[in-house]
Amino acid sequence: MGLLERFENGDQVALARIISRVENRRTGYQDILARLYAHAGRAQRIGLTGPPGAGKSSLVFRLGELLSASGKKVGIIAVDPTSPFTGGALLGDRIRMQDLSLDPNIFIRSMATRGSTGGLAEATRDTTMVMDAFGFDLVLIETVGVGQVELDIARACDSVVVVFVPESGDAVQAMKAGLMEIADIYCLNKADRDGAERLVLELQSVLGLRQRTNNWEYPIIQTQAINNIGIDDLWQAIKNHREFCQSDTSPEDRQKERIANDLLTIVRGKVDRRLRSVLRDSETFEKVVADILAGSTNPYSAAERLVAELSTALTS
């Protein structure tokens, strides 16, 4: 039986291999995605992000446990950084999720960021779609930090949970830019530690300043993932957010926005890869570098000229 048939029959080995093909952008991956797309569109996508050590993996573990117990099928994507120096990565999120390894309702996949040059947002989105097509009710996506990539991933989610800890106290200021803006739900994990109350107050005051585009009241949920406390509250908040979104905008509008976002990411990825290959083979590019080095031109004017030339090359 072929891989796709096995996938459609619910074979996890086939699911895992298809994810690799898509992640590695191996020949033919687009045909696979095109075929699977028809089966996708039902899964609820939930993003969890926050600083390292905040307890994201532990929360994902608890959420997975809770959801599986209520009969839901859950796909989990755990993203860890690739070393920019060696290209290697140590993916350790499974350590916190060991007890889900044998749960037939759960499928966990670790992903490395594989370089900062983009692509992760696209790969994560594609993997989410593949899991969606496989038949998971929910896909949980765990990422670290708040780069452009995380923002792109968050944009592809239905709900985004930003996780922080009492020790993030002073970091709230820094978190204001970016991390705070993408959250639909705030989750204060390790809430039994000193400083939790103060941080909730601080956060509430910061939230008062947050620009609003709708009437969603941003909840601050206190959890202790290790002790399995507050997980129900967190799940309730996620459900509330979903209901809010469903009542706030029409399903067509939301779907339209998601399709537009997906399409933009895919096009951007394609253009980026095309751009790289054109630039790599371009004599002009090397000559321009030499010219800048020699001082006869500067990167700004040279870039203008290159872009003009490239737009011809890209459309040809």
Binding site: L3, Q12, S20, R21, T86, G88, G92, R94, F107, I108
Partner: protein, 136 residues
């Protein structure tokens, strides 16, 4: 070529994880993606994780003397789950004659004390080159 993905696991009750962490760091530094699953894993957890991660390799570290139970258990499960394409190898305190027996049932190289991280990296790279490319 695709990224090499290696799942590293410590099966059983043996909690000595210094060695496997050294290996994890070495493989990462050699440009591989290392999935570390932590202590006290059971064979079925290890196999299930390796399948989900689509790892080409499972590396197990066993210092407890239980290698003649745990390696065959994992090898058998890999076959049962249709994942025998995953290459199983390991390291630990394993006598030569046991390593030879394990080889007979399809386990790859067993690295014993004194092995260098370079040897292990080279072994994985060489083996990866010969792994069959599965077709769609």
């Amino acid at each position: 070529m695709d990224k090499i993905r290696v799942l590293l696991a410590k099966p059983g009750l043996d909690g000595h994880d210094r060695g496997i962490k050294v290996i994890a760091a070495a493989l990462r530094d050699a440009g591989m993606e290392v999935i570390y699953t932590g202590l006290r894993q059971t064979p079925d957890k290890i196999v299930s994780a390796a399948i989900q991660e689509d790892a080409q390799f499972i590396g197990m570290s066993i210092l407890s003397g239980a290698h003649m139970t745990l390696f065959p258990a994992v090898a058998k499960l890999l076959k049962e789950k249709g994942a025998e394409n995953i290459h199983l190898f390991g390291g630990g305190i394993v006598p030569d004659q046991d390593a030879a027996k394990l080889e007979e049932i399809g386990v790859g190289r067993i690295f014993t004390p004194g092995a260098t991280t370079e040897e292990i990296v080279t072994y994985i790279r060489d083996t990866a080159r010969d792994l069959p490319e599965e077709t769609l």
